[in-house]
Symmetry: C2
């Protein structure tokens, strides 16, 4: 076991060895647990603290896990046996809000929704909007290249990140990117580190891009369908129309049932699926009307327009509602939007073949599906559910899709990597990892 004394001297009370505190920081929100008993927790208060921790870990060959709020769903922030946990949760400063250039410079531990709220005081907003926004951190969003509800209009987290401060494996501090819109100066290290899940370096600070809040009031819409496939075709039609929503989500019948029984909001469970979404701008109402008209033309049995956010609130309850039922085995697959109807047909077939009920919510506008399998929380139940998820994942890949849209690979999906990536791509990722972290201390054996 590496000697902690040197690190304790450098970090003082930011180095925590109390077992209970360590245990509380040892896991993320995924279904898998930590890999053993970590050595210590570093509650960083500065980039220099992180640099000290990594420099020490690198010298001693100690594996490091990194965490923000611990809301990750892929096991990426789980602790290692004999490892160091680096928490960025106390790096909560917004260092600069540059309204004239529409950027903010923030520390990694800033809560995503708090950054968004601060930007809104200046008529701007932070586009990334993961379901966890009220608890997750900007740094965590960056680590997983988080998505969310507004991606169909504003892209994923990487589309909103301009520059980073990164602590490398050996403790050196690196700056990437530029506040400028264009920047072709060497390799795009910013994009390389976004989504790298703590395996190449630790992001302690980010310069993010903000957008102006659209004028007018947002509108929400709902459309119910007798079948999932019809809802999928409606999504494809909407995305390919001139009527562009800011949010376009799907809940299948079982999802609505689960959400309504968790916290009733008066939603009628559809026969097949329900689309809900939001439009913004001065034409918000006209766009929402056009979208519901498209839905009716695509077979919607019932549509609704609203000025309230309650339709989206129901959608946001999906995760808590599933958790309350103890349902943990799900996926985060993506398909090209035009393949939505086909993937839904396939999921129905897979569900039937396995004799397992599958509920699906989707960031439908960008083809990102979260399917959850109803199965008992036993070893056998989990194995059965995993088999269903495996089939759904392979189906998504066969349709030109992806094994992870927004949660990342972590430890949970590592066995699926070779389903999607070719041998050369796997090799290149391993080569980059080895080049930047030669001792393999940063979140080892995850993500790639």
């Amino acid at each position: 076991m590496a000697d902690l004394q040197d690190l304790a001297t450098r970090l003082g009370d930011r180095l925590v060895t109390d077992p209970e505190t360590i245990a509380a920081h040892a896991h993320d929100s995924s279904r898998v647990g930590p890999e053993g008993t970590p050595l210590a927790l570093v509650v960083a208060r500065s980039t220099e603290d992180v640099a000290a921790a990594l420099s020490w870990a690198n010298a001693h060959g100690v594996p490091v896990s990194v965490r923000g709020a611990g809301t990750g769903l892929a096991g990426g922030a789980n602790a290692y046996d004999g490892g160091l946990i680096v928490s960025l949760a106390q790096l909560t400063e917004v260092l600069e809000l540059d309204t004239a250039n529409r950027t903010a410079r923030v520390q990694a531990g800033v809560i995503t929704a708090e950054l968004d709220a601060l930007a809104r005081t200046e008529g701007l907003f932070f586009p990334p909007d993961p379901a966890s926004a009220r608890t997750s951190t900007v740094g965590g969003n960056i680590a997983t290249n988080a998505g969310g509800l507004r991606c169909v209009a504003h892209g994923v987290t990487s589309d909103s990140v301009a520059a980073l401060v990164v602590v490398l494996a050996d403790g050196r501090v690196m700056r990437t990117g530029s506040r400028t819109r264009k920047n072709v100066v060497g390799y795009d290290l910013t994009s390389l580190f976004v989504g790298s899940e703590g395996t190449l370096g630790v992001v302690t600070e980010a310069t993010v891009r903000l957008k102006p809040v659209p004028p007018g009031s947002p509108r929400t819409f709902r459309a119910s369908f007798d079948s999932l496939e019809a809802a999928g075709d409606a999504v494809t039609a909407i995305v390919n129309s001139a009527a562009q929503p800011e949010v376009l989500e799907l809940m299948d019948a079982l999802s609505v049932e689960i959400i309504e029984s968790f916290k009733p909001s008066g939603l009628t469970v559809p026969a097949g699926a329900m689309l809900v979404g939001q439009t913004v701008g001065l034409d918000a109402l006209a766009i929402a009307e056009e979208i519901t008209a498209i839905c009716r033309a695509q077979g919607a049995t019932d549509t609704e327009l609203s000025e309230s956010d309650s339709l989206l609130e129901a959608r946001r309850l999906s995760n808590p509602a599933l958790n309350a039922r103890g349902l943990k085995i799900g996926c985060d697959v993506g398909v090209p939007v035009a393949a939505l109807a086909e993937v839904f047909r396939g999921i129905g077939e897979i569900s039937g073949r396995h004799g397992k009920r599958v509920s699906t919510v989707a960031h439908a506008g960008d083809g990102n599906l979260h399917c959850t399998v109803e199965a008992p929380d036993t070893e056998a139940g989990i194995a059965e559910a995993d088999a269903v998820i495996d089939d759904i994942t392979r189906l998504a890949i066969s349709l030109g899709g992806t094994i992870s849209g927004e949660h990342g690979i972590g430890s949970v999906k590592r066995h699926e990597l070779a389903w999607q990536l070719d041998e050369a791509a796997l090799d290149v990722q391993r080569a980059i990892k080895a080049a930047l972290d030669p001792r393999g201390i940063l979140t080892p054996d995850r993500a790639i």
Copy 2:
């Protein structure tokens, strides 16, 4: 000298050793020439041809330069002494136009404007719009992460690239990315290869994202100002308003004079500078009116609205007009948009101090400036002009800017890299290069 026979056997007539043909393919459009006499030219007709060429070059330690149409401005495609030139200009097939998912799969040698024209037959368009679009290739745009006139609305090339086929240094073929909007599966290799200027691998095929052509007719606008600084402040005001242009360009007085004397279009040379731009969508006219109103509030002496493209055409003539005057020493710096007035003030001061006239055109909406120094095409003249450009470049960096917005580093700007990047970032780039191209055959000693 490596034995070419083995390669000739594999490539047949795609291996060219005729000195004149080789010489015609040995340089790009930059002011610097090839580094010596290349060995041979490979006119690739397939990804496999490129793989054969790289595999051979890697085995023999032969340096490789890669070219599309040779329109690059940074010397990135210039040939090496004893090296192999790989031309992708014959890879001209559009392999798939997927309108339902708004993507196109194209070979690297497809001309950018031709892809755009094809997409428009389906009501879509290809957002990247470098000034060279009518001659440059999609692969070349990807290699330099090219920008252009529409970036203020649609981002740079990397924002439109979803997936790549890349030949690695050892000849292996790798696929990156996904057609899906979201994809967090290992490192973002697509973004790493975009803008890597041929130093990490050779992109032979790309899946690019298309956008729907906005409804209605585009409008163009012009506003003339008595000073560059006032025009700069107007740009900042426009970008921070609700009136978002698709194009927002600036030409200073000297630029307009140079363009008008090259091909008169009736533009009145402004006292300071001229903004020209385009708006799109059903509200194009209203947005253009709002933009010119902002310009007048910011001191514009004269504004104009038009339905014709002639204002932008004049802007597009800037490069040919400069070339016709033999003016080659310029820059491609970027600054945050709010720093435009300040950078213009500084350029005036630098110009005065050096006693050299500087003309400036700018993709003003994203703070990307091309300044050109008037100097004789002699060794002394070039040295004097370079000193001016160095000062402008350092000024841009001091304002939070970049040494290259859209042309890349190539060989021309390599000495400036350390002005912008810290030692750790330079090291990380070298480590990635060494990991992916251990023998250093791919476009060696450029870009990083």
